[in-house]
């Protein structure tokens, strides 16, 4: 067992977090605005796209993923792949019924 198991991260400056928060609020505004415009099928994809972008801001900054080791990111990737499989293969049934 390694001695130095509590590597600490540099504190993230308040400024960074506040900027991210501003971005998140703006993006919320964007989703609401876009949702009032009729883009047919596209609406849902725009909404999901913005939401995913917002999520990655939260993940990488608020949740410190940027500072964590590769293991954490690989884990997240595994999760996303699994989610895609669950959703995608369910649709292999639903779409062709």
């Amino acid at each position: 067992m390694s001695e130095h198991n509590h590597e600490t991260h540099e504190p993230v400056p308040y400024r960074t977090f506040i900027l991210i928060w501003v971005a998140l609020i703006i993006l919320t505004g964007v989703t609401i605005a876009v949702s009032r415009v009729d883009l047919k099928e596209l609406n849902i994809w725009v909404a999901l796209g913005v939401a995913s972008f917002k999520s990655s801001l939260v993940l990488f900054f608020f949740m410190h993923l940027r500072q964590e080791s590769r293991l954490f990111r690989v884990g997240l990737l595994i999760l996303l792949v699994i989610l895609a499989i669950f959703l995608g293969l369910t649709f292999v049934d639903v779409l062709y019924r």
């Binding site: 308040y14 919320t28 939401a51 608020f62 669950f86």
Partner: protein, 199 residues
């Protein structure tokens, strides 16, 4: 006699694993949503218009802000600003309570219109609308439960910080509670457009 092995990174990694399980938990509901949306696009938009977009938007801002405050709390404790950290934690808890109060008013209004799972009004509105509201109540309810748990966690950690059990040397508990709180936020980032904003 037990040998202290402290592993903060391990503890955080364990928390991330737990968050994965939470994501999968909610993903089941999103799968149901996706299938139903495909099946009943018109009814879903019709039903979505019955939700109060103001409540939804305000709650979004509330949650995003609470995510900010708890993230700041970690920076604060790292910089040994315990007082600030405590304030930020309590603000987070307060915002969580605001969220829940909003939710309460929102739901009361809807229920008073006869819209709740298993109601007759709902049944008359047709299969698609029923499905929308069933999923809405279930997802928002489960999310609300998570808000409650997360706020409790942060309150407990705040008390421990005040008592000096969580310190700027040892604050994994705060980090992990914050991670949980961000997850609550993440879920809502998807719930909001999917339920409130269908045109």
């Amino acid at each position: 006699m037990s040998i202290e092995h402290r592993d903060d990174t391990g503890a955080r990694f364990g928390m991330w694993l737990f968050l994965y399980t939470e994501v999968i938990l909610f993903s089941g509901l999103f799968i149901l949503y996706a299938v139903a949306l495909m099946k009943y696009p018109e009814q879903y938009s019709q039903a979505s218009h019955k939700l109060n977009i103001y409540f939804g938007s305000i709650n979004t801002v509330v949650l995003l802000t609470s995510s900010l405050t708890v993230a700041l709390a970690i920076s604060a404790i790292q910089m040994k600003r315990i007082k600030q950290c405590l304030t930020l934690c309590w603000v987070t808890v307060a915002l969580a309570i605001v969220f829940l109060i909003n939710k309460y008013f929102e739901w009361s209004a809807e229920i008073s219109h006869g819209i709740y799972p298993g109601s007759e009004t709902l049944a008359e509105m047709g299969a698609g609308v029923t499905s929308f509201f069933n999923l809405y109540y279930f997802t928002a309810g489960l999310h609300g439960l998570h808000v409650f748990i997360g706020a409790t966690l942060i309150a407990v950690v705040a008390i421990m910080t005040a008592k000096g059990k969580v310190t700027s040397e040892r604050y994994t508990l705060l980090e992990n509670s914050a991670l949980y709180w961000h997850l609550v936020d993440l879920v809502w980032i998807f719930v909001f457009p999917l339920y409130y904003l269908i045109l």
